[in-house]
């Protein structure tokens, strides 16, 4: 072994052409997060099989329109984040910042809509112990809700950094990592919404 050789960091993937974009460490997180949600989704599916009537009846009490609005909001926010990455890569930091802020606004919209849904349910006295369906509904959506908040903290940091001009071709690692994380938050909702609100 050559002691003088530079040890390349395996967790920092070189920018632009490299795949996957962003830091390998963030992908480890994303994988772990998806695994956690995946296990929860499977548990939901198997439990539903055993209580079909209950789940069908309870799904009817959810506000599907609110869920649909939130789906649109998150997909739009993902689009904004993707545009932000593209803009920063082309040296347009100001435009990039605006796209990140737009994504943040969509995230805030999601929290408002979801908050209204929660207020409605909690107002009706629903809790984790109401029944198995609501145990899953509240656990899954709240776990996701916390991820939206965390993702928004990440986006806020990215907005500041992008505005400062930290990101440009050759140094996209942070922005791409944050964007990948936000897409994960979106992806989980895209599975969660049909599974919990719609499918019956």
């Amino acid at each position: 072994m050559n002691p003088g050789a530079q040890n390349p960091d395996p967790m920092t993937v070189p920018p632009t052409s490299a795949y996957p974009p962003g830091d390998l460490a963030v992908w480890v997180f994303i994988f772990a997060e998806l695994l956690a949600f995946g296990v929860f989704f499977l548990a939901y599916a198997f439990t539903r099989m055993r209580h079909v009537e209950l789940f069908d009846a309870m799904q009817g009490t959810l506000d599907r329109r609110a869920g649909a609005v939130n789906t649109v909001l998150l997909i739009t926010s993902s689009f904004c984040v993707a545009r932000a990455v593209r803009a920063a890569e082309h040296g347009a930091s100001r435009i990039g910042t605006r796209w990140v802020l737009a994504a943040l606004a969509c995230g805030a919209g999601f929290l408002l809509v979801k908050g209204a849904e929660y207020a409605d349910k909690f107002g009706a006295g629903i809790s984790l112990s109401t029944n198995t369906f609501y145990m899953f509904y509240l656990s899954l959506t709240f776990f996701h809700f916390m991820h939206v908040i965390l993702g928004m903290v990440v986006l806020a940091v990215l907005a500041v950094q992008t505005r400062r001009g930290d990101y440009h071709r050759g140094n996209m690692n942070g922005l791409e990592s944050g964007a990948a994380y936000w897409h994960m938050v979106d992806l989980v909702w895209i599975v969660l919404f049909p599974l919990v609100y719609v499918l019956r």
Binding site: M1, D9, A36, A43, F136, S139
Partner: protein, 459 residues
């Protein structure tokens, strides 16, 4: 040794090894009492032996963590310890208080000890692992606070690295969660609920941070791999640990009277607890494979890799084995738990303390590494203890599965004591491998006294 004050760690390490020996001896006594019920009765009844066995474990690990911190923090912070004198004073206070507690357990009946030590002022005794009399508990808090003051001041005046910050987070968490040992509500559900905030949030939460930082420190030293790489892994591991471990507490709430949703939350999150341990295994082997130097202390590298593997097996795999609520419904409180407990404590915490001792002790004795002969003896002790522990775990797992079947699952279940008689063969086998473990430990202690030509290259 880069900083003189690191030498205080030596005292802590010696005490840790001594108490470790005591723990193993009481383990052997108890192991025999499983099959020869009146062995040493009434001098040392089973419940007392068990209490001494588990309490010594916790105390020697705490000595190991503190010693590890005293060694690691000055080197990471690149400054002398804030107060070496305080560290030495705390050592003696903690050792004497610990020894008096053990003497108390052995000398008088537990109820008398409770009376003598003012348990009626604030009832905290009588709970598994938290059996310590009130003065001891208060002493632990005082020692922990003074220790944290010393360590934190050192970090504050010196360089702040990811490793020392993670270690500090772990040690502060350890002290803070211990405070729940003073909360003992008369409602049994609440009592158990918060009891786990000490027990679970220690071993499946903040202790893992201590483990991660001690392991990362030794790996940087023996492999010479860039700090940035190791730090990034450390962050990944810490986050995964906290996310899975904190909500994973729910796997203790299945049958104690807590709400039913804990069965889901506990199952899902604790099922993911092996991930950070697996990440640690990958990380350790990755670092060693990409090492940029051949450190003369081969034994320390072996301990580090052993920790990574055995913690994954003991804490990760054996934990997963009985963590899902439908499985735990049958295995709860059987020998399956004992199997997991043995391999997890040895693989994660005993081994990481032995790793840092193995790395630091030769340096504190004025050499980069021990002689070849001494290292060979140490490696023998590594394999003897580790293989013995694997077999102890396998025998206890077999005993546990049989116990579940005989006592809880078959169409004609039999009572507890009858089931115990049926599985006594496995207890005998466990006792035998336990003796082998002791041989390994004796060899380990012997390795400190083996001379031979010392290696001095590299540090």
């Amino acid at each position: 040794m880069q900083y003189k004050s690191q030498a205080v760690a030596k005292l802590y390490f010696m005490a840790a090894i001594g108490l470790f020996a005591g723990q193993v001896l009481f383990g052997l006594i108890m192991g025999l009492q499983y099959v020869v019920g009146d062995f040493l009765f009434p001098a040392i009844p089973f419940n007392v032996a068990r209490m001494v066995h588990t309490n010594l474990l916790i105390v020697w690990l705490l000595f190991g963590f503190m010693g590890g911190a005293y060694y690691l923090v000055p080197e990471e912070s690149e400054t002398e310890l804030f107060s070496p004198k305080l560290a030495v004073a705390l050592f003696w206070i903690f050792l004497i208080a610990g020894a008096l507690t053990i003497v108390g357990y052995l000398a008088v009946p537990y109820a008398t000890l409770a009376q003598m030590t003012g348990n009626d002022l604030l009832e905290t005794m009588g709970r598994e692992f938290l059996e310590q009399p009130l003065p001891t508990k208060l002493g632990i808090v005082v020692v922990a606070l003074a220790f944290l003051f010393n360590i934190t001041m050192t970090v504050l005046k010196g360089k702040k690295t990811a490793i020392s910050m993670v270690l500090l987070l772990g040690l502060w968490g350890l002290a803070i969660f211990f405070l729940f040992s003073f909360y003992n509500p008369s409602n049994l559900v609440k009592d158990k609920f918060y009891w786990w905030w000490v027990v679970h949030l220690w071993v499946e939460g903040v202790w893992e941070l201590i483990l991660g930082s001690l392991l990362a420190f030794v790996l940087i030293k023996v492999t010479g791999v860039d700090r940035e790489v190791i730090e990034k892994w450390l962050y990944v591991i810490v986050t995964l640990t906290l996310v899975t471990g904190i909500i994973g507490t729910g796997h203790h709430y299945y049958w104690i009277g807590a709400p039913e949703y804990w069965q889901w939350w506990g199952s899902v999150f604790s099922a993911l607890e092996p991930i950070p341990f697996f990440a640690m295994t990958v990380f350790a082997f990755n670092m060693v494979n990409r090492r940029r130097r051949e450190h003369p202390n081969q034994a320390a590298t072996l301990w580090a890799l052993g920790t990574a593997v055995m913690s994954f097996l003991g804490a990760g795999v054996w934990g997963f084995l009985h963590t899902l609520a439908p499985v735990n419904y049958y295995t709860h409180g059987t020998q399956v738990t004992a199997a997991h407990g043995h391999m997890a404590f040895y693989g994660a915490y005993a081994m990481v303390v032995l790793t840092i001792i193995s790395y630091a002790m030769p340096i504190m004795r004025g050499r980069a590494a021990n002689s070849n002969r001494a290292q060979v003896v140490e490696m023998w002790s590594f394999w003897l203890m580790t293989v013995s522990m694997v077999f102890i775990t396998l025998f206890l797992t077999a005993a546990g599965i049989l116990q579940v079947w005989l006592q809880r699952f078959s169409s004609t279940p039999i009572p507890f004591m009858q089931a115990q008689e049926q599985i006594s063969l496995f207890y005998w086998l466990r006792e035998g491998t336990g003796v082998l473990f002791l041989v390994g430990l004796v060899l380990y202690i012997v390795s400190f006294f083996v001379s031979g030509r010392e290696k001095t290259s590299a540090a």
